[in-house]
């Protein structure tokens, strides 16, 4: 099966007063048609920059996607596209939804106008046609009285409704890949569940692949087919959701999973990972997790670990795994 999206050696850097910052450093992953990949990691690990890089939305300058990177979508390299082809790709083939629906909607336009605009940006639809489809889309994302709501301004809607509108906009041209950058983080827990249900339903309905970015393992478990764990601008472990939850191989993944509160495992105190994510301007040498790693070896401080296949499409970048010790 050929991948819908194939990212190879993606490196995105930023110029900063402290020097060149490698926000994303040599990241490779694949997304199959219809598959949902969960991209998990703490704040500052590079997951949002990865998402922006996929659509070449990283502001340039100061950002720069390394020319050696490859982002192949359906056979064409996005990094080779000219401005027109790129504009055609955005919204049409790959769409994106963001964390903060309150600020991603234009405050002075009605939501109907904004959705209709997304439709008309890619298709020669008449005003009436675009309006009819806008109502359909609003209905599809579960907004009651969709025809009336087209006249509403964003501030007249709740956060959950706003995110539904964003999803309607993103899906207006039936993209084959949806990049969702923490789409539920800004919402109440009950609303989070509703939005996740909606995304799950729409993904099946449109046979749409998804890159779902979150810091929350609890959320990703319910939506992702496969998970990639990011730390320090790199992917440290990737594998099918079930395998990754059952047998996490990388100490960072293990730490993250222990930090998730679980009903079936009541503990006095949640385990945390000591320390904080280092600054992207000063990644540690060797394995970037080694200063916080409970089971570090001597060579972790000097040599980057290889990406080891542990079987069943499950890979981890750790010296412990390489030395075949049981973890």
């Amino acid at each position: 099966m050929t991948s819908l999206l194939s990212v190879r050696h993606l490196t995105t850097t930023f110029e900063s007063p402290e020097g060149v910052v490698h926000a994303v450093d040599d990241v490779s992953f694949d997304v199959q048609p219809g598959e949902t990949l969960g991209l998990v990691g703490e704040s500052g690990c590079g997951k949002s920059v990865t998402a922006l890089s996929l659509l070449r939305l990283v502001p340039q300058p100061p950002g720069l996607i390394d020319p050696a990177s490859r982002i192949v979508f359906d056979g064409t390299d996005i990094l080779d596209l000219g401005p027109n082809a790129l504009q055609h790709l955005r919204g049409n083939d790959i769409a994106m939804i963001f964390q903060e629906p309150t600020t991603t909607l234009n405050p002075v336009l009605t939501v109907g106008a904004q959705i209709a605009e997304a439709i008309r940006a890619h298709e020669p639809a008449s005003r009436a046609e675009a309006h009819r489809r806008t109502v359909e889309l609003l209905d599809m994302v579960g907004i009651a009285e969709p025809a009336q709501r087209t006249h509403a301004y964003p501030h007249q809607l709740s956060g959950g409704m706003q995110q539904r509108v964003m999803i309607a906009m993103a899906l207006s041209c039936r993209p084959r890949l949806l990049v969702a950058d923490e789409p539920t983080t800004a919402l109440d827990v009950t609303i989070q569940a509703q939005i996740l249900d909606l995304l799950r339903e729409l993904r099946h309905r449109f046979a749409m692949a998804m890159v779902f970015i979150t810091h929350d393992f609890g959320i990703v478990a319910g939506i992702a087919d496969r998970i990639a764990v990011m730390y320090g601008g790199r992917i440290v472990e990737t594998g099918p959701t079930q395998a990754l939850f059952d047998h996490p191989r990388h100490p960072y993944t293990q730490g993250l999973l222990q930090a998730v509160p679980r009903v079936d495992r009541p503990t006095e105190r949640l385990a945390g990972i000591p320390g904080t994510v280092p600054s992207a301007a000063h990644w540690p040498a060797g394995c970037r997790f080694h200063p916080r790693c409970p089971s570090r070896l001597e060579r972790c401080a000097s040599q980057s670990p290889p990406d080891v296949d542990v079987g069943g499409d499950h890979r981890a970048a750790c010296w412990l795994v390489d030395s075949d010790e049981p973890t």
């Binding site: 659509l55 939305l57 790129l86 504009q87 055609h88 790709l89 955005r90 919204g91 049409n92 769409a95 994106m96 963001f98 903060e100 600020t103 991603t104 909607l105 234009n106 405050p107 002075v108 336009l109 009605t110 106008a113 605009e117 997304a118 940006a121 890619h122 006249h151 501030h155 964003m166 906009m169 993103a170």
Partner: protein, 337 residues
């Protein structure tokens, strides 16, 4: 809102009844500007009636949504009423006043107020009320298009500087130079080349020297908008550049631009009057408030009304637009809702 529409309707009908023959006369025999004034007088009650009959479905339109907030504050209401009265007086001057502002009547020089001349007459026996209204007309005829020119150029330059970063440095240095020049002196120097100045030339020059601070403001607003998430989302949706500009950038710039324009009108009126007072301005016999003050100040102690009436007219006009601008600032600013 309804009370306002009824008031406008009643005033319009009243005006028609009062000046019906004058309106017809202007329509058939007047200059183009006179015909415009007569048409406005005819259209006023029709427009108010239209507003009264307006269906409720279009309530959600922008204007109708903003309008109720405009009549909220007391200062805003005053500004709206005052500027409305000032504009109506200027536009409708030929309808309201039948006396010719330039007709000389030496037999009735410096006449006191009477029914024939409510504000008396000036040194040449010209009707003072008619001259003030037509002077106001001159001021607004210069200020409104001049501000429009300045806003159009300023918006174009400001957005260009914000979105085409290559041109930013050059454009902003031009603006810096423009702002470093004291505008009144610049205008005095420019106008020194002409013996007489037409209203059109005056407007053009005031407009072409007034866009610098608009550029500054628009650039700052547009730069802030460049980094908003909804612009990022618009890019992620693959919207064409011109759509991003017309649908996302311009509507969000509208509020600060409208406020600057309103405040700018008062400013341009002050500059125009100041220049006229100094003897640089539209050529006689076109009535000008600034020159009326200049002439009147010689007789300040014997005939104070000659200078005070045009002075107060300028004052009221400028205050009206300032109040309107402030009110619009509050009404259109999303943070003060």
């Amino acid at each position: 809102m309804r009370r306002w529409k009824w008031t406008a309707f009643a005033l319009g009908i009243g005006l028609l009844a009062w000046r019906w023959s004058r309106i017809l006369e202007l329509l058939t025999r007047g200059s183009p500007l006179d015909r415009l004034a007569a048409s406005v007088a005819l259209a006023l009650p029709l427009f108010a009636a239209g507003a009264l009959a307006m269906p409720l479905e279009i309530r959600n339109r922008w204007v109708v949504r903003v309008a109720p907030r405009l009549v909220g504050g007391r200062a805003m209401t005053l500004g709206l009423v005052l500027s409305g009265v000032v504009c109506a007086a200027a536009v409708l001057a030929p309808v309201l006043i039948t006396r010719d502002p330039v007709a000389i009547d030496l037999a009735h020089r410096l006449a006191p107020p009477s029914w024939a001349h409510p504000l008396g007459t000036d040194l040449a026996g010209r009707d003072q009320l008619s001259r003030v209204l037509h002077g106001l007309r001159t001021s607004l005829a210069i200020a409104l298009p001049a501000v429009f020119i300045a806003i159009v150029i300023g918006t174009a330059m400001g957005t260009t500087a914000a979105f085409l970063r290559r041109l930013d440095g050059v454009l902003m240095r031009v603006v810096d130079v423009g702002m470093a020049f004291p505008r009144v002196f610049l205008l005095l120097v420019l106008f020194a080349f002409w013996r007489t100045i037409s209203i059109g030339a005056m407007t053009l020059i005031l407009g072409l020297t007034g866009w610098f601070h608009v550029t500054r403001l628009v650039r700052a607003e547009a730069l802030a908008m460049r980094d908003t998430e909804f612009m990022l989302a618009a890019r992620a949706l693959g919207l064409p550049a011109w759509r991003k500009f017309t649908r996302h950038v311009l509507p969000n710039l509208a509020a600060p631009i409208i406020v600057t324009a309103t405040l700018g009108i008062g400013n341009v009126i002050l500059i125009e009057s100041g220049l006229a007072y100094l003897g640089v301005g539209v050529s006689a016999p076109t009535p000008s408030l600034g020159r009326m003050i200049n002439v009147g100040q010689t007789y300040l102690f014997t005939e104070p009304a000659l200078a005070v009436v045009p002075g107060v007219t300028i004052l009221v006009t400028v205050i009206a637009f300032s109040l309107l601008g402030d009110g619009l600032h509050h009404a259109l600013n999303p943070r003060s809702r």
